[in-house]
Amino acid sequence: MTETTPTIPTQASAPSDVTKREIGQVERALIDASVRGPVLFFYFTALTWLLGANLLGVLATFKLLWPSFLGDCVLLSYGRVWPAYMDCLTYGWACMAAFGTGLWIMGRLCRVALRKSAILIAGAVLWNIGVTLGVILVLTGNGRPAELLDFPGSVSILLLAGYLFIGTWGFSMFRLRRSGPDYISVWYLIGAFFWFPWLYATANLLLSSGHVRGVMQAVVGAWFGQNLIWLFLASIGIATVYYIVPKVTNKPIHSYYMVSLGFWSFAIFGGWTGMIRLVGAPVPAWLITVSVAAAIMMLVPTATFTINYAKSMKGCSHMVYHSPVLRFTLFGAVAYSISSLLLVFFSFRNVANYTQFGTVLQGENHLGIYTFFTMVIFGSMYYIVPRLVGCEWFSSSMIRLHFWSCAYGIGFFVMLLLVGGIFQGSLWADKDVYNVDAMQAMEPFVIGRCIAWVLLTFGHIIFALHYLLMLLRLGRPSGTPTLLETKEEHA
């Protein structure tokens, strides 16, 4: 994890290599100092939401097993806790963390120190008030029955207002850039910062306007849910991987041509995949066919992405043992490659007939938000936070515990949702299995999810504590980054 940046063209005509490098270091220190407050604040609130989401997720899973757990209070019934959990996870954790990492990478690649960064904190505060209100409204029964669009229209205005600050600052960094238009990560970030407000505003406007009736609302919901995860969050995740992996392995991106093909195919087909969520629903068949075709075409950007990070890793695979940053990021990147294949698989009509209306959709959402995006963001946080607070992560054992509990926890969790979903589908497909019996047969999968939750809770608490130690500047003194194993140990 050296700090050399061979890809940044420097315009300063420095007399020697040493000073050139020093200028670069000073410049990066200035950029980091300018985004320190907002990015750390974004991460702090994101992690708080992650823990909150975890609590709700555990409760939702328990409620599925024992509906009268903690009494028959309607606030805690599955139908309200589950959407509240998904919203905490998506808007509280994933979006906040995405903005944090996205802005930091944008600052680094555009080589711009942010001015008046306190405005970003105002944006984050607005956003967080919005999420808090939204979750309370969902729990008290004022939500919308649309997945990931549960917040009522009035709350979405708060979120958009918060985003206005965040997005404007992101774009202004790009506008004032001193380098950067050629970096692939910047392209993806521009896409993400542009697509998010469009998506969110359009979907909320259409659902609140009253002009869109009946099944069209389900179409809007599917379009939004799919794009929020596989377009917006995925763009930020891919941008992060393209930034982090070459940095850590100290190798340039493998093929510029391929990366550019990947980006454009991602942009062209990414927005069209939404209707794979509606296979079998009462909508015209062409809508679904178009989306399935788009999902298949999305294998092109995924392939270019996979080849690129795999090539960057070539000859550096041993680094996965040492570098926590690389380990988390790579886990997420591989998860993305796998999930693109799974999305195609589950969208085929013959498969979807079994898997629709089961836990497979939840599994796909978690593949995107958790297995891919969250792991990549964890990796980026391990990279970014030490550079912002000026000390290194306190303990390598804590990082190791965090990694393994998350890797096993989320792996189990998603597998149980997907395999359980197929099993559930096969039960529903058998007309002789009585409704209640089908649900009872699902119980082992739900119990399995409780075990996954134990691992995830453990991992998240460890990471949150570790982050708190870093905020209090209680890490190791700066110098060498905290590695998981020393090279000798591994050799």
Binding site: F194, L206, G271
Partner: protein, 219 residues
């Protein structure tokens, strides 16, 4: 400078195309479907019923019923929905045209409800078509299905002291669910709306795009 313009132009046009393709065109194609009028009988379907039924949909939405119950019957080739007796024909877009908030549902952790209020020849189903059954099932699902994982929606009911004559809607409860002596459990307005809504759910009307054939009706 040139690259950045291409990127901006690209992310705009690609997504604009997708928005038009997946939202505007479908809205144009079937966003304004109307009801079907049978010229011979003067029969209209679907009918826009307001009042309790429409308010009940809001209660249904507010309690997150969609996260466990769907309201979609798939055609006989795509699933066992019809064989299971959840409907006599597949659900089509026209069935939902008057739904201000559509509640298709995302998962089946419970049975499909598209025909919860439809007439049924099956005696086991016919019993569900009464308000009393719906109230009891909402208040204490396990009193009807001991192994059901449905939450008990106690918030939709109130336990009150019997004054004079017992209420005609008082729930017929036994065992642990029964209120203390001298008290009765009566539905609130929300429960009445929800029950009215559930009993209004009916996708069994024959439509040109989804006819009820003798073969499907038999099942």
């Amino acid at each position: 400078m040139k690259t950045s313009r291409i990127v901006f132009f690209g992310v705009f046009t690609t997504f604009a195309a997708a928005t038009v393709g997946l939202l505007a065109i479908p809205q144009f194609q079937f966003g304004n479907l109307g009801p079907v009028v049978n010229k011979d009988t003067g029969d209209v379907y679907p009918v826009n019923v307001g009042g309790y039924t429409a308010q009940g949909r809001d209660v249904y939405a507010a309690n997150g019923c969609v996260y466990c119950h769907t309201q979609v019957v798939r055609n006989a080739q795509d699933g066992s929905d019809i064989e299971r007796g959840w409907g006599v024909r597949q659900s089509v877009a026209r069935d939902y045209i008057y739904d201000k908030t559509v509640v298709l549902g995302f998962a089946r952790f419970g049975p499909d409800l598209a025909n919860e209020g439809a007439k049924s020849d099956n005696p086991a189903d016919a019993v569900k078509k009464t308000v009393a059954w719906q109230y009891k099932h909402l208040y204490a699902p396990q009193s009807i299905e001991p192994h059901s994982n449905m939450p008990a929606y106690r918030n939709l009911f109130e336990v009150k002291k019997i004054e004079g004559q017992p209420s005609p809607d008082a729930l017929d409860l036994t065992g642990a669910d029964a209120p203390p002596a001298g008290y009765e459990v009566v539905p609130t307005l929300e429960a009445r709306q929800l029950a009215a809504y559930l009993l209004s759910l009916d996708h069994s009307h024959t439509l040109p795009e989804a006819p009820v054939t003798k073969e499907t009706a038999k099942k």
